[in-house]
């Protein structure tokens, strides 16, 4: 099978994640959508590795996973901190700078 199909799938998943980041307002769901986008990018990397016949794509995908894990850890800690002070996990409620 032509691995280009995986690239199409990756593009579609990335775009779905982007819609979620824009549309959803629960900060945790927004985070999940960001994870989806990162995963889609990883799929593209792994596909490129197979297309070009070297493992560098897989190594980059591995690094991306580590960075995504860091991002989740810090991001969720921030969400918990915001929730503690405001009792809400909605991204619309954290609007102190606009007032």
């Amino acid at each position: 099978m032509n691995p280009t199909n995986y690239l199409y799938l990756s593009a579609i998943l990335f775009s779905i994640g982007a819609v979620g980041v824009i549309v959803r307002r629960n900060a945790i769901v927004v985070f999940m959508c960001i994870e989806l986008m990162l995963n889609a990018a990883n799929l593209a990397f792994v596909t490129f590795a197979k297309m070009n016949g070297n493992l560098e794509g897989q190594v980059i995908a591995f690094f991306t996973m580590v960075v995504a894990a860091c991002e989740v850890v810090v991001g969720l800690a921030i969400i918990v901190t915001i929730f503690r002070s405001r009792r809400s996990a909605s991204v619309d409620d954290a609007s102190l700078l606009s007032r």
Binding site: S15, R24, E35, V80
Partner: protein, 254 residues
């Protein structure tokens, strides 16, 4: 149709459907479950793409650790807090979907144009000495600096999470031993400072639900635990009084 394409055409629509459904779920927990499914399908795709190491890492790190963390935080901030799907900024949703559809069109046309129909090189040669060995050679060879920097990043992130998650203990200070001692020996509680009377111990009974008798023959409520009073589990002491004995009046005369 090869096995790989069959796998792709079964799993890819399922993962896209799950990803789309994720956007419409009102409760964040349902979104999390759907995302876990998408990640599992991606792990299967990795294995099909000759990346078994990444497939396993995907399952361990993403569906294992990251989704667990998500669910944990969901439980922490209230699993019932459902998101209202009403848009606050007018037209945001339609604009977002329109823009992203344009983005998809641009990406797919780009992929289609760069697809020259060439067969993929495949990882048969690169994976010759084993997939894990090949990746390890790259990570600890060409990419060793990136690896070190990323491990520093991971440690920093862990420290940052600890700093952000730390909260000063608020509210009333824990009472000291001195304060508790004063509360015990001053005021009304001096009467029971030496401890409450024990429950009744008799020749035929030795039970916590049997009140002790005071010198005047009355049962003592203090000798029974409060919870037994509330449950009504207190036994009558009088029924154990011996019958037929001559009464003794207050002066001790029979």
């Amino acid at each position: 149709m090869t096995g790989e394409s069959a796998l792709f055409w079964v799993l890819a629509p399922l993962s896209v459907a799950a990803a789309i459904a994720m956007l419409f779920m009102k409760k964040a927990v349902h979104s999390a479950i759907l995302l876990a499914w998408v990640m599992i399908t991606l792990a299967i795709f990795y294995i099909a793409l000759e990346a078994p190491f990444l497939g396993i890492v995907q399952i361990v790190v993403y569906t294992g650790a990251v989704m667990m963390l998500f669910l944990f935080i969901l439980m922490l901030v209230g699993v019932d807090s459902s998101d209202s799907l009403v848009e606050k900024i007018k037209g945001l949703r339609s604009v977002a979907i329109f823009t992203v559809l344009g983005f998809v069109a641009a990406l797919t046309s780009l992929i289609a144009r760069t697809d020259n129909g060439q067969a993929p090189v495949g990882l048969g040669e690169a994976n010759g000495g084993g997939n894990v060995q090949g990746i390890a050679e790259l990570i600890f060879g060409d990419y060793v600096w990136a690896f070190e920097v990323i491990s520093a990043l991971l440690i920093t992130a862990a420290l940052g999470a600890m700093v952000l998650g730390h909260s000063e203990k608020s509210g009333v200070a824990k009472s000291s031993q001195r304060a508790r001692s004063i509360a015990r020996f001053r005021g009304k509680s001096i009467a029971t400072a030496a401890g409450l009377p024990g429950s009744g111990v008799y020749a035929r009974n030795n039970a916590v639900d049997l009140p002790a008798l005071l010198p005047d023959g009355k049962p003592s409520d203090l000798s029974i635990a409060e919870v037994l009073h509330r449950r009504g589990d207190v036994q009558e002491t009088k029924s154990y009084a011996l019958e037929g004995l001559p009464k003794i009046d207050e002066e001790g005369n029979k």
